[in-house]
């Protein structure tokens, strides 16, 4: 177990290193001069100003020096300074994280609450009208762009009741009900989509498990269908569901871009889009690395959970 973990962490470090290279190179591929882009709001940067700015931001150094400098600082937890804000990148990124994490977690909870029970029902009633209906409804959720859903929610609210959720962040300590509404609405939009995945995976995992020998044994022993499904089958079908939760969490951290934009929530993903358009390299690079770390950690957690949840592993020990 320990060597396995060490190995996985090693691979993770390697992946992150590769990722840093990919992102660094990608951003430098962008057409146009970085100084022009950064100061496009100024209109025109004259040559002497350009030289001074390049020096100030360290852009006059060779690319590999800039890269090593970034990595060296990253290793000691220094994320560098935002080009646009002239402030430490960490100071800007830090308040964004809880917003996105809260939204992602809330969406996942909604997704599980909606998706798992419907998945079970669908599997139990396989190939009935109910199964088809549930599958179509959930697949529709997966097919609707969540930004469209978010737009429609806002537009319908404002058209019908002349009200929309708060447009600036409301802290839970300040006003909990308002905070809850502010997060629940976007979480519903996102959670509906994710619930489709939960439903599909629960259904197919359950169908697969029900064909296994031990389910037949349980049935043969005369246990009620209810007990068979809820205590034997579901317990073992939970594994793929956990996998999807892990993967979906990682996805949501970066994938909430448009939902956060439409609901004007100050999260990681919305800020990433802004920082990309400003070419604020220190912010973009570090936000992307942050998302990569979340992805890797949640994958790792899922794999670790396998060991705990997989009955085969349990039987073996």
């Amino acid at each position: 177990m320990k060597t396995y973990l060490a190995q996985r962490l090693g691979i993770a470090a390697l992946t992150l290193f590769g990722m840093s290279l990919v992102i660094f190179v990608l951003l430098r591929l962008a057409p146009g001069d970085i100084v022009d882009i950064l100061f496009s709001t100024g209109g025109y940067v004259n040559p002497s100003e350009r030289v001074a700015i390049e020096k100030e931001l360290g852009l006059d150094r060779p690319l590999w020096v800039q890269y090593l400098d970034w990595i060296r600082h990253l290793c000691v937890g220094d994320l560098g300074k935002s080009y646009r804000y002239d402030l430490p990148a960490w100071e800007i990124i830090r308040p964004l994280i809880p917003v996105t994490v809260e939204l992602a977690v809330l969406s996942l909870i909604i997704a599980v609450l909606l998706g798992v029970p419907t998945g079970v029902i669908s599997a139990v009633r396989q190939d009935t009208a109910l199964d088809y209906a549930l599958r179509v409804v959930s697949l529709a959720g997966l097919s609707m762009p969540s930004f469209w859903l978010a737009m429609v929610i806002i537009l319908v609210l404002v058209a019908w009741i002349g009200w929309i959720p708060p447009v600036t962040y409301v802290s839970p300590w300040e006003n909990f009900p308002l905070h809850a509404i502010q997060f629940l609405l976007p979480a519903l939009a996102v959670g509906y989509r994710s619930s489709a995945l939960m439903m599909r995976i629960t259904r197919s995992a359950l169908l697969e498990v029900m064909r296994e020998d031990y389910i037949r044994t349980a049935r043969a022993k005369g246990q009620s269908e209810k007990t068979v499904i809820w205590s034997h089958a579901l317990k073992n079908a939970i594994l793929p569901v956990v996998t999807v939760i892990g993967i979906e969490f990682a996805f949501l951290i970066g994938g909430l871009v448009v939902t956060e934009t439409v609901f004007n929530l100050p999260g990681v993903a919305r800020f990433l889009v802004q920082a990309i358009s400003w070419r604020d390299y220190p912010i973009v690079q570090n936000l992307v690395m942050f998302i990569a770390v979340v992805v890797i950690l949640s994958n790792l957690t899922v794999d670790m959970l396998y060991g705990v949840l997989d009955p085969r592993v349990r039987y073996g020990s």
Binding site: F39, T41, Y44, A52, I154, S277
Partner: protein
């Protein structure tokens, strides 16, 4: 100031009607809070001198003061609507060669230090990059505004003298622009990128990056009893649909300058009838830039064909749903002060009857060998922003009918200015906003030989002479005549065909008083006199 009385008469009618009718009808109530719309986060913080975007200047206005500022309660700006701000009074001397400001003595910076003439000298030495300047800006986009200043002298702590190279009465207008706040000499200019030490009616309390800027009332403000409001919040909402919804739902009290189209305002008004909508000029024009240094637009015939080919009234109807007006290179009355009125425009290329104009365009194109069947193929550039793309889409459709087949190339905002300045394009659909509704600010920036903002690289000695002459003309009536000639000449040369001047349908909730939009988006929003009734 006396000399401008004549001109004043010309727009007096406008000025009177634009005096907010209910401004004095009610007694202002102190206290309260307003939420104000921003469409994107502040670029470069509060460092107004290092940007040219309203997204910085507008939310920075409550922090700063100018020497002189446009009367916030009057919609149409002119020399006549200037009010003293940090200067108690000013006087022109030596036939408009010297401008003397007598400063207020009771002004304190937000950090408690006293405001003196040193701060004024510091600011303008830095802006014009004088040898004796004590600080340097990272970028200085409006350096050209101040090329005519020879020296700024702090005669005593409360007197400043601007010595000019040649007479320039309209310098005052540039000094009154929202883009010309006075910086404090005792803090480094770079510090404005992250915070704001100003003298203005409000102090910055917190700037949450990408989220909002919070202001609190400056209790030591030099105008007693002002500001009325206790707090302000400028809320950043990047998504346009959400922005409009937030205003309609009352999450925002005030719309963003230049942001509300006619249709959007009608829709808002229908949903919330009590909203107050004020149509106002913006000093922003839709125009076509053509690179006169490169074929095919080095040929004046082709340029003229483009100008003739675009139905301006159709554009106003389609792209702005009627929310724009015809005009040449300066905004027409009553939306602006210096432009040519509609009947004066009729004979100019592109302003006549659409069908006749199209015929003329086709004839011109035929003369150079192109027809709608055998069209001239060009690439039209525009910024990757909806308002630009919409306009360009319309223009492409128009040009198709006269024998010009244009493909659209969208350029990221970030690369736009650099591309246009270098002349790396053939033809472009462009929007131009003026810092003030002033001929000098417009012509020196957009039409003068060698100016980086002269995107079409149009350079004509006669025109340069005309620009200089009108700038020095002290008689406003004569100046208006000279300007009519200049604008006519520019349209006849198709230097940069102007398609329309946009209007803004500035929208506020009825409980917001004294928030009067101006015909220039950059110069209102100090918030000193704004009050809330509720």
């Amino acid at each position: 100031m006396m000399r401008f009385r004549v001109a004043a008469a010309l727009w007096a009618a406008v000025a009177v009607s634009s005096l907010a009718t209910n401004a004095y009808a009610q007694t202002p109530k102190p206290g309260g809070h307003l939420n104000i719309m921003l469409r994107e986060d502040l670029s470069q913080g509060f460092a107004v001198h290092e940007t040219s975007t309203i997204s910085t200047s507008y939310p920075s206005l409550p922090c700063f003061n100018n020497l002189v500022f446009f009367d916030q309660l009057k919609r149409t700006e002119s020399l006549e609507t200037l009010l003293p701000e940090l200067a108690e009074k000013w006087s022109w001397q030596d036939n408009f060669r010297n401008l003397v400001f007598f400063l207020r003595k009771d002004v304190k910076w937000h950090d408690g230090k006293p405001f003196t003439s040193r701060d004024v000298k510091f600011t303008f030495d830095m802006l014009r990059e004088a040898p004796e300047a004590q600080a340097k800006l990272r970028i200085n986009p409006r350096k050209d505004w101040y090329t005519n200043i020879e020296a700024v002298e702090a005669a005593d702590p409360h007197t400043v003298v601007f010595r000019l190279k040649r007479p320039q009465p309209s310098l005052l207008l540039m000094l009154a622009s929202g883009y010309t706040p006075i910086y404090a000499a005792h803090v480094p200019p770079a510090s404005y990128r992250t915070g704001c030490v100003g003298t203005g009616p409000f102090k910055v309390k917190e700037w949450r990056k990408g989220e909002y800027v919070d202001y609190v009332k400056n209790p030591d403000y030099f105008v007693k009893g002002r500001p009325y409001l206790d707090t302000l919040r400028y809320v950043v909402i990047e998504n346009r649909g959400t922005r409009v919804s937030a205003l309609q739902a009352g999450k925002l009290d005030v719309s963003f300058p230049g942001e509300t189209t006619k249709t959007a305002s009608e829709q808002l008004k229908k949903a919330v009838p009590q909203l107050v909508v004020t149509p106002v000029g913006q000093t922003v024009s839709d125009n076509i830039i053509m690179n006169v240094k490169k074929p095919p637009f080095d040929n004046p015939k082709v340029r003229l064909a483009v100008s003739y080919g675009i139905d301006r009234r159709g554009l106003i109807q389609a792209v702005h749903q009627g929310g724009a007006v015809l005009g040449a290179s300066l905004a027409p009355k009553p939306w602006g002060v210096w432009g040519i009125a509609e009947q004066g425009l009729q004979p100019l290329p592109g302003y006549g009857k659409a069908a006749d104009m199209k015929d003329k365009a086709r004839k011109l194109m035929a003369e150079v060998g192109y027809t709608p069947e055998k069209p001239l193929k060009v690439e039209i550039v525009t910024r990757a922003i909806a308002v630009y793309v919409d306009m360009a889409s319309f223009v492409i459709n128009e040009l198709k009918q006269v024998g010009i087949e244009a493909t659209l190339k969208q350029v990221e905002t970030a690369q736009w200015h650099a591309m246009a300045t270098r002349g790396d394009y053939q033809i472009g659909a462009n929007l131009t906003g003026l810092g003030v509704d002033d001929p000098d600010a417009n012509f020196y920036e957009n039409y003068a030989c060698g100016s980086p903002r002269n995107y079409s690289q149009y350079c004509n000695e006669t025109v340069m002479k005309m620009i200089d002459q009108q700038s020095q003309e002290l008689n406003p009536q004569k100046r208006l005549e000279m300007l009519a000639g200049l604008q006519k000449k520019l349209e006849e040369d198709a230097a940069r065909p102007i398609l329309d001047w946009k209007l803004d349908y500035f929208t506020v909730w009825p409980h917001v008083h004294n928030m009067i939009p101006h015909n220039n988006i950059y110069n209102f929003g100090r918030m000193t006199d704004v009050w809330r009734d509720k």
